[in-house]
């Protein structure tokens, strides 16, 4: 079960390249932007259900 999802930006290119997904068992999973990845698919479903991805922008 997904608790939260945050966009992560590449520190060199500053491009959004990974989701940081936190599960309800507190496990932190870094998820690539690959449609064949099942966690990526789960995040898209989670967004479609009305949940919001945290976006703090790049250059953190």
């Amino acid at each position: 079960m997904i608790t939260s999802v945050e966009k992560k930006y590449n520190l060199i290119s500053n491009e959004f390249d990974t989701y940081k997904m936190i599960l309800n068992n507190e496990k932190v999973v870094f998820v690539p932007l690959d449609p064949a990845n099942t966690d990526y698919q789960a995040i898209q479903e989670w967004i479609a259900e009305g949940n919001t991805v945290i976006d703090n922008g790049g250059n953190e």
């Binding site: 079960m1 992560k8 590449n10 520190l11 390249d17 990974t18 940081k20 997904m21 496990k27 932190v28 999973v29 870094f30 998820v31 690539p32 932007l33 690959d34 064949a36 990845n37 099942t38 966690d39 990526y40």
Partner: protein
């Protein structure tokens, strides 16, 4: 027999040596990876399971939805003298006596479409498939096996019976070829199967679809299927799972452990046995990257879980980012130094998951 006679026995009608006679018959006829349940990178036992996931044995997924609570483990209880050392076991620890309509329990396996093109599904020459496996349970009765074409929303179900309680039994099921619906030639989940351990009326209220049809939920599971979640006395084992083209079940195809592990690592790789480490001079506030290659190229860019283990001048030790940069071969992780010093380091564990 003479040596000349033995050699003649190896030749087929064309005077060639059959693949099945080479290296003990290993020709990757078994579509199932880790069917002998020997590889378990994640864990060997997980308790208190109430949701679907991959818990212990590689590639083997356990599905539960309000079906009670289970412990899932890699067991050493195996059929006698069949060559197996491990089995997949589920043990009900909290019962759910009355199944709700949408509730279920299953053992599931998923297969990439690009590995199945030789089955010629969706053509006039579609191959039949034969499944063989060993199973054991205290719960005798009817169970359902379902093969599901995920690309074309088609499926077929067959039943098998556990005849004797607490006794290993070998079962064989043949599935006719499906001349409708080709499988995608890609790395996604095209064909999957379910061993149903119980299901509510949403899945059992129709007529079991014993020939290939468009999937209708109500027709997927036999109305006579047992409910493995109805008692804490219940347990279910399986091993020696083999799915092969054709209408006969051949002997189980054992693979060397290194080959079996590498095939599993296409879908999941655990770095617990080799700690990953970055070392060098560090400046406070700067972020330092560590990159390592996976042992095996992943099916797709994997999700990565990293756990900080220790370090000098990286106190607090949160790995501030980790990614594969959309690369199926390489893991990247980084950590921010909190002091300026020579010879700093951080080390961490990682898991990479690209399961179907």
């Amino acid at each position: 027999m003479t040596k000349n006679r033995n050699l003649a026995d190896l030749l087929n009608a064309d005077g060639q040596i059959d693949n099945a006679d080479i290296a003990g018959g290993v020709n990757f006829k078994n579509i199932i990876i880790n069917g002998d349940m020997s590889i378990a990178q994640r864990s060997t036992s997980v308790a208190s399971i109430t949701t679907t996931g991959y818990y212990t044995i590689d590639r083997m997924r356990f599905g539960v939805n309000n079906f009670g609570t289970f412990t899932q483990s890699q067991s050493t209880d195996v059929p006698t003298a069949q060559g197996f050392a491990k089995s997949f076991k589920v043990d009900c620890t909290t019962a759910d006596i009355s199944l709700g309509a949408a509730n279920y329990g299953f053992f599931n396996y998923n297969i990439e479409g690009q590995d199945l093109q030789y089955l010629k599904k969706g053509t006039a020459n579609a191959e039949s498939l034969t499944l063989s496996f060993w199973t054991k349970s205290n719960k005798t009765g009817t169970y359902t096996f379902e093969l599901d074409d995920n690309d074309n929303n088609r499926s077929i179900s067959k039943t098998y019976t556990v005849d004797s309680a607490n006794t290993w039994e070998k079962k064989t099921i043949t599935i006719e070829g499906d001349t409708t619906g080709t499988l995608d030639n890609d790395n996604n989940n095209s064909l999957r199967f379910y061993f149903w351990l119980g299901a509510g009326s949403n899945y059992t209220s129709g007529t079991l679809q014993t020939s290939w049809q468009s999937t209708t939920d109500a027709n997927r599971v036999s109305s006579s299927n047992v409910n493995l979640g109805d008692s804490t006395s219940n347990e279910w084992y399986i091993t020696g799972v083999q799915l092969e083209a054709g209408t006969t079940a051949s002997d189980f195809e054992f693979l060397p452990v290194d080959m079996n592990l590498a095939r599993c690592q296409r879908y999941f790789e655990n770095f617990d046995d080799r700690r990953l480490i970055w070392t060098g001079d560090v400046t406070s506030g700067e972020e330092y990257f560590h990159q390592t290659s996976f042992n095996t190229t992943k099916r797709a860019t994997p999700s990565v879980t990293v756990t900080f283990n220790g370090g000098n001048y990286f106190n607090g030790g949160t790995l501030t980012s980790a990614s594969t940069y959309n690369n199926t071969n390489v893991l990247n992780a980084s950590c921010t130094a909190n002091s300026t010093n020579a010879r700093g380091y951080f080390d961490y564990f990682a898991e990479a998951d690209s399961e179907l």
